[in-house]
């Protein structure tokens, strides 16, 4: 395989944060022939149409179980599930929790634009309190969820946050996430130029952690998706742990239906 990016006509908004993620993948995907991409539905989902990789474009909220099934079928391949905040923190949040709990050896790259963008602006689980949208015209009355904290509580063995504005750093995080054995959760902060342009905020407030912090639980909580605090980027947690696939043992195949049936 030569080029990672296909010449498909791109339909993201000009200036969309997704372009940064796509660019970062060029240096982030190290073994394209051995990688399968999965996506859900939302602006993020279009990415599989732009990648010269084997892929499965699934349903809204369901890229994680599809990725789980692909990994069970072909453990020798790297499986990367692209998802969004609406996709896997609203619609399909249960799958994210359980895949992290099981430590399925897959990577989830969560495009975090903090609103339902493709359906033209509604609030999601990570929209800040007071967020004005078409479904919250007087301001979002819910507090946002901290997905990193949730992933930690669920047992995710790799947790990181990158930014689509920091492409080289993001490439590095993608490589780290994919090469990690076990469940990897990589959140990518991504300004939505059409509905929630956080470019200025992220440029001012994000900072890179040089190494995995010892007090990672506190670091995860530094920014609560609501307050104006600094936003740490980098790897929060990286833990060696037996994967689900390691534990799912299977023995030798022998076809003797009669014996089985007789118990």
């Amino acid at each position: 395989m030569s080029q990672l990016i296909l010449p498909t006509k791109n339909s993201w908004c000009p200036g969309c944060g997704n372009f940064g993620i796509l660019k970062a993948l060029e240096k982030g995907i190290e073994e394209p022939d051995r990688t399968v991409a999965v996506s859900g539905i939302g602006c993020h989902g279009k990415i599989v149409d732009y990648l010269n990789l084997s892929s499965f474009y699934g349903l809204h909220g369901r890229p994680v179980p599809v990725a789980t099934g692909i990994k069970l079928a072909t453990p020798h391949l790297k499986v990367v599930a692209f998802s969004g905040d609406g996709d896997s923190l609203n619609e399909g949040i249960s799958h994210l929790i359980h895949a992290a709990k099981r430590n399925n050896d897959i990577t989830v790259i969560l495009h975090q634009n903090r609103n339902f963008a493709l359906t033209v602006k509604q609030f999601t689980a990570t929209s800040p309190r007071g967020f004005i949208s078409n479904s919250s015209p007087s301001g979002n009355i819910e507090d946002p969820l901290n997905p990193l904290d949730l992933m930690d509580a669920s047992g995710s063995s790799f947790i990181a946050r990158g930014s689509s504005l920091e492409i080289d750093h993001l490439s590095y995080l993608i490589r780290e996430a994919i090469s990690h054995r076990g469940f990897s959760f990589l959140e990518v902060l991504q300004p939505c130029v059409a509905w929630f342009d956080t470019t200025k905020e992220y440029k001012e407030k994000t900072y890179k952690m040089e190494e995995i912090p010892e007090n990672y639980k506190e670091k995860i909580k530094e920014w609560d998706y609501n307050n104006g605090s600094k936003i740490p980027l980098g790897i929060f947690k990286k833990e060696e742990k037996e994967t689900f696939e390691d534990r799912l043992k299977s023995g030798e195949k022998e076809v003797n239906l009669f014996e089985i049936a007789n118990g």
Partner: protein, 540 residues
């Protein structure tokens, strides 16, 4: 006695089900086919559970009103079923004194073994009363039960204390297997090359999850219990897209949750077998009782226009054949199929001829072998695009969006139309293939016919034989086997449809082809008995 029926009952946890399986195993050694109907409530301890064993020299997989033996582990069983007994009572004499064969099953099991082994004592009482060879009973008990020594002591003591009442004549030991429908389905899928099975527990198909979990190492298959049915179907689509023959199992409520995934299987042309064990709905309904009210739902589950196969087996052997066929055809045609079971078929025990398992197993799918660049959705005259999974040096793009041949999203009018037509075009070849597979069974002849399906057709066959009706039993409802049905309706002047639902769901499908003269329906969670159905067909 060539044909008799036994009720075995007790509270949940008292082992009436194990007792009935043990009796079936002994009767098999005496040359009887057995059919074991399970009746239990949605609780773990207490309540009332019972099994009805139909034993016959010729296969009879349905129930009659009256039983010839009643085995009561507790007094409650006696009170509930005595009205249905026309024969010998074998009872727990620690709890009551009645006419029949009393066995102190609590005392004996406590003194010779463990208190929970009262069921062994009761079976032993039955065996002795029928002069069954003690050694045969011991052999079968040892095969089935743990605590060998205790069980042997219990059997010895009961055989000393209980008197013989009659002599059950021993016929030739039949080589058949005793399998539940769930086990038969599991074996059928394995025969067709099943590699992965995914499920979320739901009565009545949980037995498949249990059985395959037990044998997964032997068969080198992967069994995965996911967090919910939505995860089940999507993970299964991921595995099948990756080239592994995958099936899932659930009931109506689970299929409802999976429905978007069924639609995804169709548009992404990912082969998928869903085993749906019907129970009484709507919603949670009556979870441990049977029904046939998910036929239309199964046919229609999933949004959009697409093809799906829905198979309707009636007994263990058909469940085996059709699960095998459904998995094979799903892969050949790259489309979803549903094996529509019901509670009785899933959990009741059937006599199963081992020869059924012989013959062809896995039928290969059409795989890509060309040189050049692979296109997952290549347009072909028959509509089937050669299959290839990721990881073979080609880019394989599966998708739930409408797409071009390569698998890239399209919103172009021409491409949308072309791709939809390609998928539906498979129907022509599929129908032709299905026609050659004998999927409408016909028994008997004449101008009066009964159409039935699933487990209901088992009792229908017997009544029809007595009353001289022809029986028409479709094994598939989607696609509707119109030609075979029309052939079967040839010369039929009166058509009765018999099924266990309120609305007459199969009848509504048949009415697209011909007039249904009468519908005989039941919707109480219980099957028709022989006498009940005879009375409904021919009221005196």
């Amino acid at each position: 006695m060539d044909d008799f029926q036994i009720i075995v009952g007790g509270a949940a946890g008292e082992g009436s089900k194990v007792a009935s399986r043990l009796i079936a195993a002994i009767l098999k050694r005496y040359g009887y086919f057995t059919y074991v109907h399970e009746d239990y409530q949605s609780l773990v301890k207490g309540g009332h559970n019972f099994s009805i064993i139909r034993a016959s020299r010729e296969k009879k997989e349905f129930l009659k009103e009256k039983s010839d033996f009643l085995l009561a582990i507790n007094r409650d069983t006696f009170e509930r079923h005595i009205e249905k007994l026309d024969g010998l009572l074998i009872y727990n004499s620690d709890q009551m004194e009645e006419e029949g064969v009393g066995v102190n099953i609590q005392t004996i099991s406590r003194e010779e073994g463990k208190p929970f082994m009262a069921n062994t004592a009761l079976v032993a009482g039955f065996s002795k009363a029928l002069s069954i060879d003690k050694e045969i009973l011991k052999e079968e008990a040892i095969k089935m039960l743990s605590l060998r020594e205790e069980n042997e002591k219990i059997i010895e003591r009961v055989y000393r204390e209980v008197e013989e009442k009659m002599v059950l004549e021993k016929g030739e030991d039949l080589s058949h297997l005793l399998l539940t429908g769930n086990e038969a389905v599991s074996l059928g899928m394995l025969k067709a090359g099943l590699e992965h099975y995914y499920a979320y527990p739901m009565t009545p198909s949980t037995g498949i999850l249990h059985f395959l979990s037990k044998v997964k190492e032997k068969y080198k298959i992967k069994v995965f219990q996911a967090e919910n049915e939505i995860a089940v179907i999507n993970a299964a689509i991921g595995s099948a897209f990756s080239g592994k023959r995958t099936a899932v199992g659930t009931s109506g409520g689970g299929l409802a949750l999976m429905s978007e995934g069924v639609s995804l299987s169709a548009i992404s042309e990912t082969p998928m077998l869903i085993v749906e064990g019907q129970r009484m709905g709507p919603a949670t309904g009556v979870p441990t009782y049977s029904g046939q009210s998910d036929l239309l739902f199964s046919i229609n589950a999933g949004h959009g226009d697409f093809l799906k196969m829905v198979f309707t087996p009636s007994d263990g052997e058909e469940a085996f054949h059709l699960s095998k066929m459904a998995l094979n055809l799903s892969w050949k045609y790259q489309m979803p199929s549903i094996l529509l079971m019901d509670r009785d078929l899933c959990e009741n025990t059937f006599s199963f001829s081992p020869s059924v398992m012989e013959g062809e197993g896995k039928e290969e799918e059409i795989r890509w072998s060309d040189k050049g660049e692979y296109q997952r959705y290549q347009i072909t005259p028959e509509g089937i695009s050669p299959f290839l999974e990721p990881g073979r040096g080609q880019v394989v793009k599966g998708t739930g969006y409408e797409h071009n041949q390569k698998g890239i999203t399209t919103e172009e009018e021409g491409e949308i139309k072309e791709m939809q037509e390609k998928r539906i075009r498979k129907e022509e070849k599929l129908k032709e293939e299905l026609q050659g597979r004998g999927l409408v069974k016909v028994y008997g002849e004449g101008n009066r016919a009964i159409l039935s399906w699933g487990t209901t057709s088992l009792v229908v066959r017997e009544v029809a034989k007595e009353l001289n009706y022809k029986v028409i039993q479709p094994l598939i409802f989607s696609p509707l086997p119109e030609k075979e049905l029309q052939d079967a309706f040839e010369g039929v002047e009166e058509l009765i449809v018999v099924e266990c639902n309120y609305l007459g769901q199969a009848a509504s499908l048949i009415e697209k082809i011909r007039k249904v003269d009468r519908k005989i329906l039941k919707h109480s969670g219980r099957p028709f008995s022989l006498e009940e159905l005879r009375e409904k067909i021919c009221p005196n």
